[in-house]
């Protein structure tokens, strides 16, 4: 992204900045005039709500702060820091990177990438491929989105960009067949990592979810241990529906970790605080741009600080 400050934290901040400044500014103006009374806490709660934390999580966090004893003239930064710390505590356990070091003996590490439409699955695969290639690994991409127009071409371009090989069949082919074929080839070619792209699908569409279950079933005919990871890609712009997405994908295809994209935008992705609390799924990485290098580790305290405008 041109124009934005370089460095990922800079980008994250510049993205989160606008909104968190408002959030921070809001708290600031509240606290300089009033004590931490009920009305103030209510406003604080509202401010968390505007970051998509959800009514319930926002209420719980505010309640937690209200239990704390603050001096009547507490500096605003102190309350913000306390709030950020609480949020970071929730996020800390889920801030775990994707482990690509342990390569299974039998074949490639198999990573299946799933999610609703347009969240950034294919781009994230490109970014992961880039990282893995930089670590000197051989990478194969499977073009499992045989539905969306030019999805295969999109993945092929990512293959060219990152030096990963791409296994693809014709549009309209059963994605399970593509995945099966790709796994066989990856094993034959002794590829280190196989990344499988899938078509975007809404979690409430039973037939499309069944299609995804079939991909896994068919892969397991080759190796019962695969896929080693099932990544659910979430868009940070999404509101409370992210809960339903995680719930359903987790139940039906055993999601092992999340990647949250588009955190370079003005959406703050606060819904992941509630998700972390409820599902405890690791957040393997975050997406902060459209380029191959725009994937970052998820750091709990940094995220919480950025959310509250503390580190900017």
């Amino acid at each position: 992204m041109s124009g934005a400050p370089s460095g990922w934290l800079g980008r994250l901040r510049s993205g989160l900045g606008k909104s968190s400044n408002r959030l921070a500014g809001g708290i600031g103006s509240l606290l300089s005039e009033r004590k931490l009374d009920a009305a103030t806490l209510g406003d604080l709660e509202d401010l968390l709500i505007t970051a998509d934390l959800g009514v319930e999580t926002a209420a719980r966090l505010t309640e937690q702060i209200s239990q704390r004893r603050f001096a009547a003239d507490v500096p605003e930064a102190e309350v913000r820091a306390a709030l950020a710390k609480d949020i970071a505590e929730i996020l800390e356990p889920v801030a775990r990177p994707l482990d690509t070091t342990a390569r299974p003996e039998a074949g490639p590490q198999v990573i299946l990438v799933v999610g609703v439409n347009g969240t950034g699955k294919t781009t994230t695969i490109g970014k992961l491929a880039q990282q893995l290639r930089e670590q000197g690994k051989s990478v194969m991409l499977a073009a499992g989105d045989t539905f969306r127009a030019a999805a295969i071409d999109q993945l092929k371009l990512w293959g060219e960009r990152t030096g990963a090989s791409v296994v693809a069949q014709d549009p309209g082919t059963d994605p399970a067949a593509v995945a099966f074929d790709a796994l066989q080839r990856a094993r034959a070619e002794q590829t280190d990592v196989l990344l499988i792209d899938t078509a975007g699908r809404l979690h409430n569409k039973a037939d499309l979810m069944a299609e995804l279950e079939k991909v896994i079933r068919v892969l397991r005919k080759i190796d019962p241990d695969v896929p080693h990871e099932v990544l659910l890609v979430l868009d940070a712009t999404t509101g409370q529906n992210a809960h339903a997405q995680v719930e359903t994908f987790k139940e039906l295809v055993a999601v092992s970790g999340l990647i949250v994209t588009k955190l370079d935008g003005s959406a703050r992705g606060g819904v992941i605080v509630g998700l972390a609390d409820r599902f405890g799924l690791p957040i393997y990485a975050i997406g902060v741009g459209e380029g191959a290098d725009d994937l970052r580790p998820f750091a709990a305290q940094d995220f919480a600080d950025s959310l509250l405008g503390l580190s900017a």
Binding site: M1, S2, G3, A4, S14, G15, K18, S19, D46, I49, T50, A51, D52, G54, V55, V116, N117, G118, T119, G120, G126, F147, R148, A149, A150, A151, D153, Q154, K156, L157, W158, R161, L202, H203, N204, K205, A206, D207, M209, A210, D235, T237, T238, G239, Q240, N241, A242, H243, A244, E247, T248, L252, K262, D264, G265, S266, A267, R268, V271, E290
Partner: protein
Amino acid sequence: MFDTLTERLGKVFDGLTRRGALSEADITAALREVRVALLEADVALPVVRDLVAAVQERATGQEVLKSITPGQTVIKIVHDHLVETLGSEAVEIDLNAPTPVPMLLVGLQGSGKTTTTAKLANYLVEKQGKKVIMASLDVRRPAAQEQLRVLGDQALIPTLDIKLGEAPVDIARRAMDRGRREGYDVVLLDTAGRLAVDDDMMDEAVAIRDAVKPHETLLVADAMTGQDAVNIGRVFHEKVGLTGIVLTRIDGDARGGAALSMRAVTGCPIKLLGTGEGLGALEPFHPDRIVGRILGMGDVVGLVEKAQEVVEEEQARKVAAKIQKGQFDLEDMADQLRQVKKMGGMGGIMSMLPGAGKIQKQMAQHNIDDSMIRRQEAIILSMTPGERHRPALIKASRKRRVAAGSGTSVQEINKLLKQFQQLQSMMKKMKKMGGRMLPMGGGMPGGALPPGFGR
């Protein structure tokens, strides 16, 4: 996971009815629930505040205080107010300009712009008989231009030829030139996804706008969008200037509060809804449907229409006749299960049903879900036609065969057969009573959930 407004208000008012008259404090409590319901539906906070204030004004009138069903009255007031906010009348795509009419589609990454471009083109060609050409100005995302070309080929709608390395503004100008030269009615311009905070990209959008002066500039936004909807709507409207909004992925189960947020902050009408990935999945906007969703009252209109679409007349008559003759067999039951699936599975139906929250909880308690439907269908498919017609044939060894064939257990076979029996006897009873059974009754939750349908 979220309670519907009906449930929420139920909790507030249930305790009050015995006490008689309502107080202003009761109304305040009710409005708190309205606020929470709207926020859970992802309506942006500043918009929620305005809405609640407006509703308060209307609700504190004698209407609610005197009502014997205050919950219903509050819901009605909220419902009506939200419908008004969204604009009670559908606003069509405006073609009233010299041809070729330029239209620009803008929005965040992955919101559905390209798909919507193709759908809109298809709509204008099919429904309005217009001559339409499309061009993709997305030179950023890999294969984005190719995506629109493929969609154009599928829909038999021409797309501007792709020239490698051409800048978006130049593509837009070339598209207009060709539109003029070849007598097109409409030129649809698909653009790259851009973030509201990305100044360079927003400037690009402005440059495109200035180059072609679009008659319609549509913001394509995802129905799942959260609180950021107000920022997105505001910035795109301030910088590029919008004439309408298209809300995509209405076929999902998001409550869709973004509709209210964006409408409130831009003042622009929501013109179209994206209801699926196919080229035909574009619908005019119905405010009351969206409001029903936001309030968790279900998209009743949508459900009925969907049912009409899916259940073919012919088929329905056939099943009804079979029921009448007491010939309803497992084949028919499988048909019913398939229809449930076609309607987007249990989740799809549930998300459209009124009072879905409660039924959903009951269904969860009984483990009624889509995987069950799939398993039951698999069981029936593993039977021979003879067995499907005469389930009595299915004895122990056949049960084992069917279980193995369908990847289920004998227990599950037993359960299904028992359900089928219950379904049959229920139908016989209904026949005796002279009642007419809904053709979809076999699989439909709510009205005619067969006894023992759960696990």
